[in-house]
Symmetry: C2
Amino acid sequence: MQAVFDYLRNNDTAFLEQLRDYLRFPSVSAQPQHKADMRACADWAVSHCRLIGLQTRLCPTPGNPVILAGTPRRQGRPHYLVYGHYDVQPPDPLDLWKTPPFEARIEGDNLIARGSCDNKGQHFVHLKAVEAYLKTGTELPVDITFLIEGEEEVGSDHLVDFLKEHRQELACDGIVISDNGIPSLKHPALTYSLRGVAAMEVKLTGPSRDLHSGLFGGSVDNPAMALCQMLGSLRDRRGRITIPGFYDDVVKLSAYERRQLAKLPFSEGQYRKLLGVKALFGEQSYTAIEQRSARPTCEINGLTSGYQGAGSKTIIPSWASAKLTFRLVPDMKPKKIQQLVARHLKEVCPPTMRIELEVGHSGEPYLMSPTGPQAQAALRALKGAFGQESLLLREGGSIPIVNDFRKILGVDTLLLGLSLPDDNPHSPNEKFSLTCFRRGMAMSAKLWEELGALDR
Amino acid sequence: MQAVFDYLRNNDTAFLEQLRDYLRFPSVSAQPQHKADMRACADWAVSHCRLIGLQTRLCPTPGNPVILAGTPRRQGRPHYLVYGHYDVQPPDPLDLWKTPPFEARIEGDNLIARGSCDNKGQHFVHLKAVEAYLKTGTELPVDITFLIEGEEEVGSDHLVDFLKEHRQELACDGIVISDNGIPSLKHPALTYSLRGVAAMEVKLTGPSRDLHSGLFGGSVDNPAMALCQMLGSLRDRRGRITIPGFYDDVVKLSAYERRQLAKLPFSEGQYRKLLGVKALFGEQSYTAIEQRSARPTCEINGLTSGYQGAGSKTIIPSWASAKLTFRLVPDMKPKKIQQLVARHLKEVCPPTMRIELEVGHSGEPYLMSPTGPQAQAALRALKGAFGQESLLLREGGSIPIVNDFRKILGVDTLLLGLSLPDDNPHSPNEKFSLTCFRRGMAMSAKLWEELGALDR
């Protein structure tokens, strides 16, 4: 293993130059004018994987092609999939970039370019770790296949079909994705849980048109008021959701998890300042970190009713509507939640209103055992590479492909993000820390060793 | 008096032709291109008043001129003011008119033209009643001054100053305005009360920008939800307002008033159909007529927050706002209500939100004694002219000039509208019933007799 680490250390300047080449392609999947750049970028990645020594092919899809690049498969060896994407967000607004987005400049500890952390830089560290095994003749403890797609930033529309079609070839023991983040260089972390989401829209209609509030007010109900009263009944003033049955399937946080989450850095003052809020908020008996990542929520995303221009208009609006999303935690089921919400809203809807409910998109929450062997192996790899105690993290957002992997391939995903909180993914001046780049390569090299040593 | 009624009856065809002349002027105060038409219309009215025998002058204002036309003032005689306006609403949309808006066509019992009921036709009946006295040599029981302005449809911006400047000349025992309506030809009515209004706007701000609901939801309050809970607390589900002190100054409906209001025609089924609502609504122990005219209300006129486009956007909105109006009844004070509402909203605002309150326009409610001598005189005049029991009406809307008259001249206004519910004021195919035209003239003639007979 020492040869592997030496190889990584001795070549990191060359690796950085290779990564800068990769980052020069404006592989913006959202913009049709970059179709040729997408293909050129994919071709570069294919060539690079072959140079490393991987068996590589470019697989067509109805959209942008997927790269499959793997070490030779060996009988009886564990097989892991590394997922990444070579497409990037549009660089706009260009005038806010301090350096050109596709020129990959180095400033201090940062590599600045669109795609540097999201996601070219992050999957590149895994390619380099595997290269180090191959080039030093060190036996890889596991078989590894890279799946690098080109449509992540536009919804991964063709990935599910691709996974289903290649189910046998991709059968594996687990997935590794580095596409999220860690709290700081001092807090390397494995993300073992994600929240799910369930969206809904509700519309109330009272009178068939806006009515004069002087002539009719008092004898006709007001849809905006009825909606406020109905929505106000969904949640108490501390954030506890009052819909019957809502918490039925919530898996309680274990004492171990709570202890781990408590180790994450958190300053209430800095958090308040970051968000620009007067005061924090949330369910009693939970920390802010737990509230935002390990507890379900009910949010109103938008409200619309009546007159919204300048001054006043003395009407009873004909209708009022709201957009709602619920963040879900294991083992809540989005469809069941949508049904509970719909039933509750219908129950509290006054007889004066016609109610229309529209069920929107949804995604299941994700949880892998934080005490299981794969998670613990990942924690050891992180600790070894970063020289810091590694932590367990839950994320409040959703990464839908993680559920797709579980459904289609039946395995867990190790979320080993290497992005820092100030890396600006999707924003101008996206960057990737050179320290994360180097520690990431070491972490990846260790990870294969740790995963290879597990009892299967 | 018989001579007066005979004169009115014998000349009604001629009067109708005169009114049609008056209606041919497109005196649209809102549209600058009709400035010359405004003046031509005022000149016509001045000439007509002089023909009748009134001492008439056109008084300039910074806007359109006001016509003052009066019978000679006699020592010791009661003096009444008749208010009307010669300006009209724009006729648009023109393509919805079945006949040209400024050609005053007669169809069946209706005279169809812009301004026919609002308000040229309605003040014209009073001019004709006074003419009948003057031309038949019948002694007018009271002195009468017509005040006919040209800016009612654009807010009567210069009327208050005009009243103040002419306070002495206009000193009087009461005002008569025919500019509203009655429920039907079988239900002639005096409107003795109007509701007031108080407008407010409330805005809550939580985070300094829209936040990702996955990353932060649960630890940050949602301004749209906080607003719903705050607004939902303003009113119970039957329409009873729960703001402390809100009802303190409400004058109770008397048993007499409730008996009178109960005589007004009302069909719940027709009303529901007219408004297109699933079910009626309102404070318990009050009829729909009482609820919409004699009880205060709290209405949300508009709601705005977050994302309102198609699909969903998983954000915690930075802010949420609402436009509110309160309809007020005697003796509620708009400023006091605005203070109570502001205090209550501040009290129920959670510590997570910054609250901004904006106080909007307001108008006081109006009430004259329904059992006083002037009201009873008006009821007798209505009954005599219509041959039907006359009723007492409260209107739910506001007519701000009525409060201006009371404040500046210190007198009550008899609201003796002659418009029917299907007269379409402000809409295409505005009309005025010929029956109302004829009965209105008789009512006016009787009114002066009744008012003249009162003890002063």
